[in-house]
Symmetry: C2
Subunit: 389 residues, 2 copies
DNA sequence: CTCGTTTTCGGAAACGTTTGCGATAGTTTA
DNA sequence: TAAACTATCGCAAACGTTTCCGAAAACGAG
């Protein structure tokens, strides 16, 4: 039937099982096993991105020479280089980052993990990161954790699988264990935290003036004559929430005011949490005369809720909030805030990370604080004459 | 001096030039050229991400077997597989996407180019894209063009260099030539346009109801009794701007109103463009009684500018805008808009692209329209009794 | 002209993974 | 109990680049 592909003998051929659907043969003469392959007819090359090899073939030279020409090596004749560059341009050659990265062991890419890109704060941070990264020749890969610990862990794994050169992380609210970060840190992956940082691991961090901001806002309220200041806080173990409340406490301490712990409400940043908090506060025998929200969005919600209940701001209740957006200045009454600079935070974090990547060994983690700014608006301005003081 | 590394002879050695700083030798006996290398002392392995080879060595098997175990191949013993998985887990193995992608010829990554991530619309789109992509097992790489044609071109090249499986593009305002897109399309890169699309190239597109939205907004104004409707438009050659103005024209046509071309102002979405436009309109002998802004942000600006000039809204001038944000409902007076669904747009575009990637050959480009919604608010509600009609 | 020197190029290994194919050993069938 | 078969593994090529090192040729000085 089928002759041996080696000795050509026919009579010594026996069948020897099937392998992956194909009949396997055995030639007893030359002791050879083989299978019969249908000739591959579609051998015409598909259209593909042009490679260094395409250029080499077009010029009848070797790929290494082409590589040298493209990489400004000096071990190459200038005429050859010109020719290569010409052909490369002609074929619209784009170096394959995958191959380059695999070979060099670095991707020149940094991974970013944020809770939610739709929050203007994080969008600003990302923009800052991209600016610095692009200028330094780095690409950026963005993942959203959607405030889920599990997704965050998956994000870390995905980015590590992509072999990013470093990681920029702002933790989800849920995250209270940090094994996924520690693991990568142990493997030598540079990591920088920002905003929602984590003290359990030894990384560089970029934080805001959470304490000072909280202090400034509350001090402002106190100076405006408010005495019973309620706090709308985030989850109990969120670090930035803690720091801002510490500022709140410090301001009270400075002005000799006692703190009524009942006024501190721990919410979940949920949708109708503002209403709930208000219901709670207004049910107290000693009602608050002002509110400090840990997050500006809640400040907006509070204003809306208070307006619905016909409670006048800032007369009956004053409001201040941490964080700022255009909307805070446009709403009636405009909202007093501690303004953040998300873009700057992003820039700082990216700078720090790239520093860490480049000086992998000598880099010592440290923390940078990005200054904020108290912006006084109508929502807390009880005594208008004080404006110019 | 130095013996030949081959025949050991010393007297036949002559020096033969320098090569990369090292003395090159020539043995005339065995006709061998060689250089002397200092022994490499730091041969202890650096810490690295664990590879398939590490696992193979740990178990004394071959890398291919490990690969098969990890890829659920059936050509592997179940006990071996268990062992491999155990070790892989122990060593926290993460497959190298670079190597995988290089080998498979696909990255399972889609590239996204948007003008500015800080614009809530695009942040919403990106979120929609990421949702669909993640569910389909794709990663996302985001680039910002910053409304610059040049940067956009660089973005395309960078993403192509990263060998993304497909491209999702919303063009910059500047972009009026599309060679960079055509080039990649010719090379077989799947591309889907969204929002700021381009009719010159044959790609799938996701657009909004630009025409219908413009029509609905202007019709609403007309029904409210407004007769001289000004338009604040974008650059003349921005496609979506054109379509929305076409809706404006159509509405006029339907109700037999003539169009005063003087009322159409082409701005650049710049910062004080709103003021300029107002100055211009108010300088006309026939002043407008309402304004339609192509972009919601300009609507907000208009409201602010009008309030400063003590022009009452909607009595003296009504305002409607294309696009929506939380702020539009909170500002006083609240802004009538044609609400977009950026998240849906992102989802649709990503779905389309992935479809295109998977059925690369059979896919035929088509256009999908994401419905919008007219939301009537106070800025255009001249006749309050009409609300319930 | 000779020999050391420099310039310029090619070959091959390496990066980490997948996969076609052959090989071995054990298992079933007739 | 051979012959036919199956299960399981290893080898090597391939993906596209970079880079080490050697080779050939051109160059230079004495």
């Amino acid at each position: 039937m089928t002759p041996c592909i080696k000795c050509g003998s026919v009579e010594n051929i026996v069948r020897s099982g099937f392998i992956r659907g194909k009949q396997r043969m055995h030639c007893k003469a030359c002791n050879l096993y083989f299978t019969i392959n249908p000739p591959n007819e579609s051998s015409n090359k598909k259209p593909h991105q042009t490679t260094i090899i395409d250029i080499a073939k077009a010029l009848g030279i070797s790929p290494s020479t082409v590589s040298r020409a493209l990489n400004k090596s000096n071990e190459i004749n200038d005429n050859t280089r010109q020719e290569i560059l010409r052909v490369a341009n002609e074929l619209d050659y784009r170096p394959n980052f995958l191959a380059q990265s695999l070979n060099r062991g670095e991707t020149h890419t940094i991974g970013v993990i944020i809770p939610d890109i739709q929050r203007p704060f994080f969008a600003g941070v990302v923009a800052g990161i991209q600016k610095v990264a692009t200028e330094a020749g780095y690409r950026v890969m963005i993942c959203q954790s959607n405030e889920s610990h599990h997704t965050e862990t998956l994000n870390v794994q995905a980015l590590v699988a992509s072999r990013v050169d470093g990681l920029l992380i702002s933790h989800s609210k849920e995250t209270n264990s940090f094994e996924h970060v520690k693991l990568q840190l142990k493997k030598g992956v540079p990591i920088v935290h920002f905003d929602r940082v984590c003290n359990e691991v030894d990384t560089a961090k970029v934080i805001q003036e959470d304490f000072s901001g909280g202090f400034a806002l509350v001090e402002h309220l106190i100076l405006q004559g408010y005495k019973r200041i309620a706090v709308f806080a985030g989850p109990t173990d969120l670090l930035i929430s803690k720091a801002r409340i510490d500022g709140y406490r410090a301001a009270h301490l400075k002005y000799g005011l006692t703190i009524d712990e009942d006024l501190i409400y721990h919410g979940n940043f949920g949708k109708d949490e503002a209403e709930k908090a208000l219901d709670y506060w207004l049910s107290l025998s000693q009602k608050p005369d002002s509110i400090f929200t840990i997050h500006y969005a809640n400040g907006i919600e509070m204003i809306m809720a208070l307006k619905e209940r016909n409670i006048s701001i800032p007369e009956d209740i004053g409001i201040v909030a941490f964080g700022d957006e255009l909307i805070a200045s446009l709403i009636e009454p405009s909202l007093t805030v501690f303004h953040q600079f998300p873009f700057t935070i992003g820039e700082t974090a990216a700078t720090l990370l790239i520093e860490n990547i480049i000086n992998k060994d000598s880099f010592i983690p440290h923390t940078k604080v990005v200054k904020g700014e108290l912006i006084i608006r109508k929502s807390s301005l009880r005594n208008r004459t004080l404006t110019n003081s």
